[in-house]
Symmetry: C2
Subunit: 260 residues, 2 copies
């Protein structure tokens, strides 16, 4: 007997009968192990990829199965129909970001530093999790039809609004901030500045004729966002928060050479 590992998933073991006498029947006997938990995980991972890459309607159940190294039937067995699968992925995505959000403590940073930290986290979380952005866009295209049915997500409140509220209060008290801005608006604004740039980087890159995801472009963007928000909150000049002058490549960028 010889054991051959299936290329992608070590849990599947093919057993080949050596010198089989009855080729027609026992030409190749496949064996497999049970691993419901692992299977479910791989299915959800593959589904996340698929849905974020193609949207809900564009996603293909067969592709999810294939990428999960599973039989299509497994999706229905472990999770449910396509819509259920999608919702499970969405809920998982929200759960994940909520967990990471909670790990961020802004309480004992001085207010401007706390806001900077918040922007930095949001920015990098989005960069590290592009699927999250895609999923949100897909869900909004569906007018949050699925999210509305999810009591699970509705109960997972972001801790950021309250964090921001206390940070802003402290900032105003300490004199660092000049205005008691609405925490919900600020939260949305910070998310907006990060989200839009990354989520729309593909079309924006075409329009501007340059790569918005290069290291320099990303660094420049982060600096701009931090300066914008902190300047508004503190009443200081944007220039006070790092380099923010128009860099050298601006003039060229406005007239991309290739166009027409």
């Amino acid at each position: 007997m010889r054991f051959i590992l299936k290329p992608r998933f070590a849990c599947y073991i093919r057993t080949r009968i050596h010198r089989a006498t009855d080729l027609a029947k026992a030409k190749r006997i496949l064996k497999w192990q049970r691993d419901p938990a692992g299977m479910r995980l791989r299915i959800l991972q593959a589904a996340k990829q698929e849905f974020s890459a193609h949207g809900l309607a564009g996603a293909r159940v067969d592709r999810i199965a294939a990428n999960a190294g599973a039989n299509k039937r497994m999706l229905y067995y472990h999770v449910g129909k396509k819509d259920d699968l999608y919702l499970a992925v969405l809920e998982g995505a929200y759960e994940q970001i909520r967990v990471e959000e909670r790990s961020l403590d802004l309480e004992h940073l001085d207010p401007p530093k706390a806001i900077e930290r918040l922007i930095d986290f949001t920015w990098n979380y989005f960069i590290r999790n592009p699927e999250f952005l895609a999923l949100l866009n897909t869900e909004n295209l569906a007018r949050a039809r699925h999210l509305k049915r999810s009591t699970k997500v509705k109960s997972m409140h972001s801790p950021f609004v309250e964090m921001i509220r206390t940070v802003v209060r402290r900032g105003v008290e300490s004199g660092d901030f000049v205005v008691a801005v609405d925490p919900v608006q600020l939260y949305i604004s910070i998310a907006a500045l990060c989200f839009f740039y990354l989520s729309n980087s593909a079309t924006l890159s075409v329009i501007f004729g340059r790569d918005l995801l290069s290291k320099e472009a990303r660094d420049e963007r982060l600096a701009h966002m931090v300066a914008l928000v902190l300047a508004a909150l503190t009443g200081k000049s944007m220039a006070a928060f790092g380099r923010n002058k128009a860099p050298r490549l601006r003039a060229a960028a406005a007239q991309p050479v290739e166009a027409k």
Copy 2:
């Protein structure tokens, strides 16, 4: 002879033969008018609706035909296959916004007023054209695959970057603005603040448990955005640009009653 108007489109006229002798053959003779230009328009309009409502993969060619009051064959005759139709819609959408953008002259407004005007335009354009937001999201989900092939869109530069550049320069010279911010970054930031809020209003409304598209919510948002950007540019306090304190409903909003 009797003329009966087809319910949806007046250009189609049904002619019924009165007292027809041969019922089998001439039971109902349909007549129609030619209107290639109008037909093309209706097709593109219907396609815009369909693609923005369902995305590229979710869009149904048959539905587009039906909503255009056309035979499915007409889509292929006048525009092309599904992908061509989609690209035509996308190009049309960009063309439309570019036209309106050009009609906005910021040249002879004083700089802060010009920026406010810019934000106001962007905000209201997005509100008036939700399909545009949806189309952009769809195209970004496809990583701008179609846009890249469109020389047409690439050649349609937004006049806003240059407008902002001159406005910022004037603002710095006049002393209204305290920083020579990069016009591309500012353009993206303004778009971001407006776009994200509206594009993601469905999921955000669920998360926050209230309607972000109500008149009050929209007004509040616009005021916040203007204050944020102008405060950063002018170095004045956000409070100087209209009411921006946390309104009365904030506390309730953080704890939506229905959750759980």
